[in-house]
């Protein structure tokens, strides 16, 4: 028989020491989601320079890409996107009833794979910025 219980406010981040793998996955998914939606608006704003003139667009993109900080932020953006994609797949599978019993393992796998892809992408993202 199901019963009602007071679990407290699940969104109470002050309880972070009590969080299990699933809760950390929820927190990371939310955090990466906020970053990605923020980036979407910034991205469209930057791309909109194409409305001024072809030169304005090319100059804006190439000026941004010449900055080391932008290249580092791009590695961060890739990491955030990869984690959101991998954890999103994990959530889609769980919604379909697949893998719920291994949801903690699939979260750790998402983290490891994100880390590996982020490290492997560093040479590509930093190419040419020092030269």
């Amino acid at each position: 028989m199901s019963q009602s219980y007071n679990r407290g406010l699940i969104e109470d981040f002050g309880r972070w020491r009590e969080f299990s793998a699933g809760m950390w996955a929820w927190v990371f998914h939310k955090f990466t989601g906020w970053v990605l939606v923020g980036y979407l608006f910034t991205h469209i704003a930057v791309l909109s320079t194409a409305l001024q003139s072809p030169d304005a667009y090319t100059t804006t993109i190439q000026s941004l890409e010449s900055l080391l900080v932008v290249r580092i932020l791009e590695v961060g953006l890739l990491s955030v996107a990869v984690f959101h994609i991998l954890n999103g797949l994990r959530l889609l599978f769980v919604d379909l009833g697949i893998g719920l019993e291994a949801q903690d393992k699939s979260f750790y796998a998402s983290l490891l794979l994100t880390g590996a892809i982020a490290v492997a992408s560093v040479p590509t993202f930093l190419a040419g910025v020092f030269g």
């Binding site: 009602s4 989601g33 939606v37 090319t58 994609i85 999103g88």
Partner: protein, 123 residues
């Protein structure tokens, strides 16, 4: 009976659309990142290169669909996150209005930019 914890309304379809757009975005976001950072490099981007891609109807339509689904998925996600945090009543209505307007602005701006690259709809 166990209490129901959800940001979504009973019988609503936003839950389903969040999943449908997620399945689409998993593939298209990965493709977008791979194409524009690993096949082509971001520091080599020029207006002419973006224009060449956008002049293809398949690519143009994919990017418009990408814009629409990403905006819905992102803004709907923000709305649900705020409801999770306890947003209700008039503030909830006001936030919904702001998010709808912000979505419209980003979509209109994105479509205008795509049309500027493609020089109109590439039919």
């Amino acid at each position: 009976m166990a209490e129901r914890y959800s940001s979504f309304e009973v019988g609503g379809r936003r839950w389903l659309w969040q999943r449908i757009t997620a399945a689409f975005l998993v593939v298209v976001l990965a493709f977008h990142f791979f194409l524009l950072h690993f096949v082509n490099h971001a520091d080599e981007v020029t207006f002419a290169m973006s224009q060449a891609r956008m002049e293809t109807l398949t690519y143009f339509s994919l990017m418009i669909l990408f814009l629409l689904t990403a905006t819905f998925h992102g803004v709907n996600g923000v709305y649900n996150a705020l409801i999770n945090q306890g947003l209700t009543g008039t503030r909830k209505t006001a936030v919904k209005l702001v998010l709808v307007v912000a979505s419209a602005v980003v979509i209109v701006q994105g479509v205008r930019t795509a049309l500027a690259w493609a020089g109109g709809v590439p039919l």
